[in-house]
């Protein structure tokens, strides 16, 4: 059972990186004073928040009886994905505007908004973005949730899901090397900040608001 869960995670972990990469890579690369410990802490916080959201989703689905069919309703999944994009876009945007806007318009790097400094704090962003990305229900995740719910007793189901999640984690190991890269390529930090603003706006407008209101 444990082996199956880990293997499921390992074989499908690329999906997780596909959703988390666009949020995590520019966010981490653009961080000020990024040391190995802080970087690992931010990645861990993000992944922890994502796991919490998965637990919440699993509990809500189970409570609503949505797991009985063993198939996710595509419309519901799409709606959740839209909210995932809106929330992760907003959290990246607040982080950009409050802490690390790519270009300062004043002498002292002035374009950052002091009002957003707290909500756009790196640690708060890691938590919110992790929770938001957790709203993406991809097929492997659905499989894991269903398997964990129907696995027998609650504890083994919980373990199944945790080990599935552990199976996906090796794909995030390269992110621990980001401080090494940014140290040797300082220009990357400003480029990553530009990317972060663009990703946040794209998530918010093109993948969030437009599908929410017009599709």
């Amino acid at each position: 059972m444990i082996l199956e869960a880990i293997l499921l995670g390992l074989s499908t972990g690329t999906y997780c990186t596909m959703y988390c990469g666009p949020v995590l890579i520019p966010f981490l690369c653009g961080s000020e004073d990024l040391r190995y410990k802080r970087n690992a802490g931010l990645v861990g916080t993000f992944l922890g928040a994502r796991l919490v959201m998965y637990f919440i989703l699993g509990a809500v689905f189970a409570f609503l009886g949505l797991l009985v069919n063993e198939f996710a309703d595509p419309l519901m999944v799409r709606k959740l994905a839209v909210y995932a994009y809106i929330f992760s876009g907003l959290s990246l945007l607040f982080n950009s505007l409050g802490v690390k806007f790519p270009w300062g318009c004043g002498e002292n790097g002035g374009c950052k908004s002091p009002k957003l400094k707290r909500i756009g704090n790196d640690w708060v962003t890691a938590v919110f973005a992790g929770l938001a990305v957790g709203l993406h229900v991809c097929p492997p995740l659905w499989t894991a949730i269903v398997r964990s719910i129907f696995g027998g007793n609650d504890i083994s189901g919980l373990f199944y899901f945790v080990f599935f999640y552990i199976g996906t984690l090796p794909f995030f190991i390269p992110l621990l090397g980001i401080p090494f890269v940014t140290k040797h390529l300082p220009a990357l930090r400003r480029i990553a900040r530009v990317t972060q603003v663009l990703v946040s706006l794209y998530f918010l407008i093109f993948l969030g608001l437009i599908p929410l209101f017009f599709e």
Binding site: G21, P22, P102, A192, V194, T195, V199, I210, F213, E215
Partner: protein, 389 residues
């Protein structure tokens, strides 16, 4: 002189093979072959008199190619679909022609998912995508980002508009660094967004050249928003900004392929070099660079070569009054002029033939001939037919 004649002869053979012979000696192909030959001969011999003067003929070629490509492409679309709009049938049967700008968007998803996310003609086979990737790889090794200023069939639009205005109204030189950062940031965004969505984000929302190729039909609010973006970006970055700045603004700020080509340019054989001993710091090269690859700091810090985004167009060579800029082999640290001259005539001819500027021009123009022959012949056929009618 002899080396130039030899190169012209070789180019003549290449043009003969790829243009008239491939098109069964149709009138339009012969006209196009003569036009190409004229450009290459002028390019080669004018360069002997004044270094960098070939840039003018490169410019003429690229503008002609851009217009001809669009004529042929749009005519093809009308012939096969009856409109420029992408139909659902074309989309579902993966009948969208693959374009080089999509390459950086498909590579990462291809590595991870083993699928090509572009709905190109890949039903059952990957021929068109594979051939485009192969062309890109060969071109990168030989030309590097030189593709953008010699071969790219979209770049000619901006090239044309940037030459349209007489006076520069906006000077972007002090903002070069920021523009470069934006272009790489935008490139990273496009790669990440394409990976996240498993779709070509740039093609879906940001490509200004949809306006002169094909576009999604406007049948919903999102498609209307898309159309407004395409038109806005085309008018803004391909028409208005190049006129005002005399620069290729879309190429230097938005095109993901351009940024990608800049990053992979390090494996190409040729590189622009600035002789820091000759350079007097007049900044004329920086003012004329259409890609913003020469900053004030590049000259002040005596870096010896333009920045990463140099597309080897040769405009700086033409502008430099001190003849301090030249094209050289990337791994050759000696300047061309300092190389020892051969004592025999035969040796001098060989030396001239192997001169990096000559070789680069020959390679770049060969690519241009190969890439343009089919489209341009068809475009000229259409124009000739329209005139006769």
């Amino acid at each position: 002189m002899i080396s130039s004649l030899i190169l012209c002869l070789m180019m003549g053979i290449l043009i003969f093979f790829f243009v008239p012979l491939m098109s069964n000696f149709s009138i339009s192909s012969v006209i196009y072959a003569v036009f190409l030959m004229y450009l290459y001969v002028r390019m080669t011999f004018s360069e002997r008199k004044k270094p960098g003067s070939s840039a003018k003929y490169r410019s003429i070629f690229q503008i002609t190619f851009a217009v001809g490509f669009c004529i042929a492409f749009i005519a093809d679309l009308y012939a096969s679909r009856g409109s420029m709009a992408i139909t659902e049938g074309a989309m579902s049967s993966a009948e969208i022609p693959f374009c080089h700008i999509a390459i950086p968007q498909v590579l990462v998803p291809l590595l991870i998912t083993k699928n090509i996310i572009f709905p190109a003609r890949i039903a059952g086979h990957y021929a068109s995508v594979a051939s485009m990737l192969l062309i890109w790889l060969v071109c990168t090794i030989v030309l590097g980002r030189g593709w953008c200023s010699w071969v790219c069939f979209y770049g000619g639009w901006e090239e044309g508009f940037s030459k349209a205005g007489k006076k520069r109204r906006i000077n972007l030189l002090p903002k070069n660094k920021e523009i470069r950062e934006f272009s790489f940031g935008f490139f990273a965004f496009i790669v990440l967004a394409s990976l996240c969505e498993l779709a070509c984000t740039y093609c879906e929302w940001f490509c200004p050249f949809k306006l002169v190729t094909e576009f999604s039909p406007i049948d919903s609010i999102p498609s209307l928003i898309g159309a407004v973006m395409f038109i806005g970006l085309f008018l803004g970055l391909v028409v208005v900004m190049p006129i005002l700045t005399k620069r290729r603004t879309q190429c230097s700020a938005l095109c993901p392929f351009g940024a990608f080509a800049s990053l992979t340019d390090g494996i190409s054989m040729f590189k622009m070099k600035i002789d820091t001993d000759k350079c007097k710091g007049c900044m004329k090269c920086a003012q004329v660079c259409p890609f913003g690859a020469i900053d004030i700091k590049t000259i002040q810090d005596k870096k010896g070569s333009p920045e990463l985004t140099c597309a080897k167009c040769g405009e700086c060579v033409r502008a430099c009054p001190e003849k301090a800029i030249s094209i050289g082999f990337r791994f050759d640290h000696k300047c061309g002029s300092s190389a020892q001259k051969s004592k025999t005539k035969f040796g001098r001819v060989i030396q001239e033939l192997l001169e990096p500027a000559q070789l680069f021009r020959f390679a770049a123009f060969s690519f241009s001939v190969v890439m343009s022959s089919n489209f341009m012949t068809r475009a000229m056929n259409l124009i000739v037919r329209a005139i006769i009618k």
